[in-house]
């Protein structure tokens, strides 16, 4: 197929838009007295509870150890949608152009942006886990409450699990497609 690389590039970048439909990340907190675990879905535009009321219930639990209230207003929720939409449109345009070096360039750029995003996520988690109210009711010397970046971690009586969510899998598939697009374009040139 002549324009396979173009189709792959366009499809791959378009898949980024799924982040407007599905959450990017999920943090789940398990504990014996929560037979239905508490959970938080992180979107590029907002935070929601896995079940209704979860954000309030996580905040209620966190305030005993002096953690800040998780708010649904953050500067990231303004920046992320612009970046994702911009990158997606850019990727689609590059796809139409069919220029393989631009494919690679786009891929490297999104990789950098992704790493930056993860770093931002880590800082956010660090801030919530370490920046505690000195008047907290329960203080445990040396204890931090930072959830893991990815994977699970025991925090007092809770098991905190942090994993990519549906949107992230769509995005990763998209990235794989754009990389394939580059490889396909490369092979075609050589043949």
């Amino acid at each position: 197929m002549k324009s396979l690389h173009k189709i792959l590039m366009i499809l791959g970048s378009a898949l980024l838009l799924s982040l407007f439909v599905f959450p990017l990340w999920n943090i789940t907190l398990e504990a014996p007295q929560y037979p239905t675990p508490l959970g938080m879905d992180i979107w590029i535009t907002k935070l929601t509870g896995t079940n209704k009321g979860d954000i309030q219930n996580i905040n209620l639990m966190n305030h005993y150890v002096g953690m800040k209230e998780i708010t649904t207003e953050m500067k990231e929720f303004e920046i992320f949608p612009i970046v994702i939409a911009g990158m997606s449109i850019l990727g689609i345009l590059i796809g139409f152009s069919g220029k393989k070096n631009l494919f690679l360039g786009w891929f490297i750029l999104i990789l950098i942006l992704g790493i930056a995003g993860m770093y931002d996520f880590y800082l956010w988690e660090y801030d919530y886990g370490h920046n505690l109210n000195p008047k907290a009711a329960i203080k445990i010397p040396g204890q931090a409450y930072q959830p893991p970046l990815i994977g699970s971690k025991k925090i007092l009586n809770f098991n905190a699990i942090s994993l990519p969510a549906t949107g992230a899998y769509f995005m990763l598939t998209g990235l794989a497609l754009t990389l394939t697009a580059y490889v396909v374009a490369l092979k075609k040139e050589r043949s």
Binding site: K52, Y64, K135
Partner: protein, 661 residues
């Protein structure tokens, strides 16, 4: 010598026999009871963290409430306040539920609750509602099974005691109410000796709205002054009819233990309620002035309202041919029970030696042929020998109530001989009997009075326990007993104590209720006029002597928790909203010197406690229901100043700590 040897031999043989006999006996006894006990224990054992298979909804008798148990474990989960005050839950004490106990006599803090009845769809229990009658001040209550709270109570006018109630029709078109005590109609001052002919018995049909479940006293039927004991509606082929048992057809007004026990036969009144609907449509009723309360609890305002109703439509069988027939039945029948097919109508003649079963088909035929033995006050009496399907001969003494297992067997409680007797429909033969401890009243099989019984367990609801439990002074516990009826022979599995007198009960598969069970009330749907959505809306408002505190509770503080400017003699209304939206996080609220109760507020709910400070001072209040690690710290103060003081009205939370409200 020979003789001696012989006698020794004989003796040793004899003793050996005795030994072996006694060994045999004891072995048999221990192995039997051992096997039974371990069987029974494991079959009622519900592992920690696991669920029972059935709910049992048990009448609280003279406690006026209803209790919720699990079967087979017999564990108590909840006592639902229905007709009686409950200081634990604030029921009848908080401003919201006070109207639930309103009647034409005013506020009534107690009743005697007898018969729970589950709502049905197509003759099967559907897990929507359970109804229960108040016997003393005639009422029917409805409990919503998504919340296990009483959400509606309707008073029954023209009644002297609501006993034969609230049995349902196949699709919960109606629940019924028959008066246990005949009373003058209309009620008036008259000599008791003139009972006969002047006293009347009223049968009431309360419709239940298919969508909303709302009850409405649709019509009443004016009956002779007998006593109406129990009832059941037909199903399947007999759908459209209700059967009421009667006693005291002698119409005796005194020493009724004798006076009401003279006739060989009393009646089962068969009421064609579909015909009644036609007569209502035709306008053949009298609009009679009455005064009765209809009380409803709204899940969104979290408040009850009481409305006094002023008229009721009354049908007189004399004007409505074909509406009622009498089925002669020996003798003072208590329960009247219709088998799952709708064909057999069992009359449990309390003082009769036999158990009489009528055939619905034969009843219809006799009515068609107008084959009557006579009439009572214009109501045709059918001929007993023409309508009988069969007689269970001398099954025991004091038959009270029968339920069915859906496999062609019936189970009847015998009060006097304290036993459950299992017999076969159709052949009328007794196949098993088991003693109960003691004096069984009603019995219950989950769905046992519906079209589709679940014949796994039977619960005997006993009247007397005597020595069955640890003694607790002169008043000992009430109790029920669980039998396994899945096999040929019934097997006693468990005794368990109950609240009040467990007159009757209903059982239902837990799977029909669990998915509908509410975990919280949605805060955003809270329409309480004094409710708030968050702490920033909290305030204190003075209106003359009335002070309204708009307060919130959330782990682990009240907002506000400091209030000043209250004066001796004020009426302080604490409107407390629980902001929680998490399962099993109610908060309680109590204030020192409150002369009513605490309030117990569910997540998303608002409740109001009225408090009248009597003395100056600084009064603490606190959360009564453990909520969190800092539950003990969930407390606050209200300052009470003299009547004529100028202390400004202020309220706050945590201003020392520079936290926001």
């Amino acid at each position: 010598m020979k003789k001696l040897i012989k006698s020794i031999l004989a003796l040793s043989i004899a003793s050996a026999t005795v030994v072996s006999c006694s060994q045999g006996n004891s072995q048999e006894t221990t192995s039997n009871s051992g096997a039974l006990e371990s069987d029974a224990a494991s079959s009622v054992y519900v592992k920690p963290g696991e669920y029972d298979e059935f709910y049992a909804l048990v009448s609280g008798g003279f406690s006026g409430q209803m209790s919720v148990y699990g079967l087979p474990s017999g564990r108590l989960f909840k006592v639902i306040p229905v007709f009686s005050l409950d200081a634990e839950k604030g029921y009848g004490f908080n401003e919201e539920t006070k109207p639930m106990l309103n009647t034409s006599f005013g506020h009534i803090p107690w009743d005697d609750s007898h018969h729970p009845e589950l709502s049905q769809t197509n003759g099967e229990t559907d897990g929507r509602f359970v109804f229960i009658n108040g016997n003393n001040t005639p009422r029917i209550a409805k409990i919503d099974l998504s919340t296990f709270e009483t959400t509606e109570i309707i008073e029954i006018p023209n009644s002297g005691g609501n006993h034969s109630s609230p049995f349902t029709t196949e699709n919960t078109e109606y629940v019924v109410a028959g008066t246990r005590f005949a009373v003058p109609y209309p009620q008036r001052d008259m000599p008791i000796k003139e009972y006969k002919g002047n006293f009347k018995g009223m049968l009431s049909y309360i419709s239940v709205d298919k969508e909303s479940g709302l009850m409405d006293l649709s019509f009443q039927i004016l009956m002779p002054g007998f006593n109406y004991d129990l009832a059941h509606s037909g199903k399947g082929k007999s759908h459209g009819w209700t059967f009421f048992t009667t006693y005291n057809t002698e119409e005796s007004g005194t020493l009724m233990e004798v006076g009401a026990s003279q006739n060989d036969k009393d009646f089962i009144a068969a009421v064609n309620w579909k015909k009644a609907e036609e007569y209502i449509k035709q306008g053949k009723f009298k609009e009679v002035p009455v005064n009765y309360a209809h009380n409803r609890y709204d899940e969104h305002t979290h408040m009850a309202t009481s409305v006094m109703k002023k008229t009721v439509r009354v049908l007189d069988p004399a004007d409505c041919p074909g509406l009622v027939y009498f089925l002669p039945t020996p003798k003072s029948p208590h329960g009247v029970d219709v088998d799952p097919s709708g064909e057999y109508i069992v009359g449990n003649g309390k003082l009769s030696a036999n158990l009489t079963v009528h055939s619905f088909t034969k009843v219809m035929k006799a009515i068609e042929n107008e084959s009557f033995a006579g009439d009572a006050y214009g109501i045709p009496i059918l001929k007993m020998d023409e309508i009988i399907a069969g007689i269970v001969e001398q099954p025991g003494l004091g038959p009270l109530h029968t339920e069915f297992d859906g496999r062609g067997n019936a189970y009847t409680s015998f009060f006097i001989t304290s036993e459950v007797v299992k017999w076969k429909l159709g052949t009328w033969e007794v196949v098993d009997r088991q003693p109960t401890y003691y004096s069984i009243g009603h019995l219950m099989i989950p769905g046992g009075d519906s079209k589709n019984p679940n014949g796994k367990y039977l619960v005997a609801l006993n009247k007397i326990t005597k020595d069955r439990y640890l003694p607790t002074g002169p008043e000992v516990t009430q109790s029920a007993q669980l039998f396994d009826i899945s096999g040929e022979k019934m097997k006693l599995l468990l005794d368990f104590p109950t609240i009040g007198e467990p007159h009757y009960a209903q059982g239902i598969e837990a799977s029909k209720i669990i998915p509908k069970s509410r975990k919280i009330y949605e805060l955003e749907e809270n329409k309480h006029p004094y409710g708030v959505q968050n702490e920033s809306e909290t305030k204190v408002v003075r209106d003359g002597n009335d002070v309204h505190v708009y307060m919130t509770m959330i782990r682990s503080h009240f907002a506000p928790d400091n209030i000043e400017g209250i004066k001796v003699g004020d009426n302080v209304y604490w409107h407390v909203t629980n902001l929680e939206q998490d399962y099993d996080v109610p908060h309680g609220f109590s204030v020192m010197g409150a002369r009513n109760s605490e309030i117990l507020v569910m997540p998303g709910q608002t409740e109001t406690l009225l408090w009248k400070p009597q003395f100056e001072g600084v009064i603490p209040f606190y959360c009564t229901d453990f909520c969190s690690a800092l539950h003990q710290e969930m407390q606050g103060y209200i300052r009470v100043s003299p009547k004529n003081s100028n202390t400004p009205l202020t309220w706050s939370l945590g201003e020392d700590d520079e936290e926001e409200l």
